[in-house]
């Protein structure tokens, strides 16, 4: 057993949220395993495999790093100036854990502010698989499943959701 408690899980997710809301993206990358994946499925197929279904985001670790490189570039116009985001995480549950991996689900609301637009709200569920590596908990799988039937008023998902 990795012996992660719910409080540890919450602390971990809150700390990650603070890094993302603070645009501390290199520090965020350090939370990932070397084979991490980050996925946002299409709204109409929330439970599916990016090998046979079109996703909105299906990054392996190389593309996650490329995504961060892009987001740090002023020419990533969709995020320059960067959006202000504020994420609320709740209903954190540890679904399973063994010696190596911990499976966690949590609900999220991410508020995104950009220029003078009204706020955009992304509501959904996070699904994580964490592993114990390099002396701490690391993210191996990070999925953000958006509840909206369509991205409706959400425009792009150009920041890390």
């Amino acid at each position: 057993m990795a012996n992660m408690t719910r409080q540890q899980a919450e602390d971990f997710l809150y700390a990650e949220a603070a890094l993302l809301d603070g645009w501390e993206l290199d520090e965020w990358l350090a939370l990932l395993t070397d084979d991490a994946v980050y996925r946002v499925p299409s709204n109409d197929k929330p439970i599916s495999d990016p090998k046979d279904t079109l996703f909105t985001i299906a990054d392996d670790i190389h593309r996650i790093r490329a995504r961060v490189t892009r987001l740090k570039d002023k020419n990533a116009h969709a995020e320059f100036p960067p959006s202000r985001t504020r994420r609320m995480i709740s209903n954190v549950r540890i679904l399973a854990q063994d010696a190596h991996a911990i499976k966690i689900e949590a609900n999220f609301i991410v508020h995104r502010f950009r220029r003078n637009e009204s706020v955009r709200q992304y509501v959904g569920q996070y699904r994580y698989v964490l592993r114990v590596e390099r002396g701490g908990f690391r993210i191996a799988v990070r999925e953000a499943i958006i509840d909206a039937m369509e991205l409706g008023s959400l425009s792009s998902v150009s920041f890390i959701l």
Partner: protein
Amino acid sequence: MSELREQAWVINQPEAMHFAVNRATLVDPQVLEFERRRIFDTCWIYVGHESEVRAPGDFRTRTVCGRPLIFCRDSSNTVRVYLNTCRHRGAMVCREAEGNAKHFTCFYHGWTYDRDGALYGLPGQSAYPPNFNRADFALKEPPRVASYRGFVFLNFDAGAMPLDDYLAGAKEYIDLIIDQSPSGEMEVIPGAQEYDIRANWKLLVENSFDDYHLLSTHSTWLNYLKNSGVEMKRPEQGHMLPAHGVGKVLGNGHAVIDNVNFRGRPVARWIPIYGEAAKPEIERIRAELVARLGEARAARVADTNRNLVVFPNLVLNDGSSVTIRTFHPLAPDHMQVRACALGPKEESATARAVRLDSFLTFYGPGGFATPDDIEALEAVQTGVSSYREIPWSVMTRGMAKEGEQLNTDELHLREFWIQWDKLMRIPRGD
């Protein structure tokens, strides 16, 4: 209406080498009302792809030109389009996004229609007068529905020209997409990207085949390709991009950019982003293309990438993947976009995975390029709020050239606007 006719929306003066678009066309609510009647209700509008409904009773609901529709297969497996409204008092008869139905029931008063649209269930029919005839109350279809190589279109104008004539030169480019499939059958892959953009719908038409913006808007995507080992040649003389590309007009407002590929294609040009493991598969696809089509046609299919606009609102991007993108205005400054991926029906699991992965490198609301396009369109929409002070946008790139027009010129954009202007000047009972 008279006001609209007197107002110049598009200035097209080839001799003076002048072309400009009035920015009010992006802002004015009255323009959108005329567009709905004079463009969206008179042109062939894309509904869906035949592969999205396969068996009798399969259906998808979607909104096209502001009308809720059921796109489905009837009892004889023919593709049908019904207006999704009960003939009684108007409620939608199908409220699910997709599925298979034996019948469509309006839950409000219980009227029930079969897959062929016939009204067969009617609670308490005896209360209707003797002149009530069920046959008069079948689900209504749009005046015209037709398909070309799997792409299904409707037309709300009963007198419209046949789809085949309408598509004109665009057919050649649709054929090039279909030729990727050994069986001649392409299918829509599950998973739709639906998103909105706070901008006028015509800005997405322009953006979808405007290669002039590639270097400045998408430098982070080009850097990603470069950092991933994709070879970028220096542009030839007079060009802006690493490969040669031209803009062409195809009739009835359709136009295309037709480019020598540098960015990799799941059919059938490998780039390092696809991974070493996928290399033999891409080579096998290439060999099949050559065996079936011959060297020249295979090279045409595999080594060029093309962004096709079928007037007014269908974009087929045959680039990093094949994208079907269609969009509808909700307001002058707001549109809804729907995009999905198209692939050969018999594609292997490896090739399918490469195709989808390649799609996401560029396209979609989480891609490395589309979000910056969305930002560009929204920046334009905000910027043109001062249309009274600065009424005109210039669109003259390439006008002084004899012969070939490049993908970074604006011939193809002008073609869209010329057709738009022509249709907007024909009253349609509005």
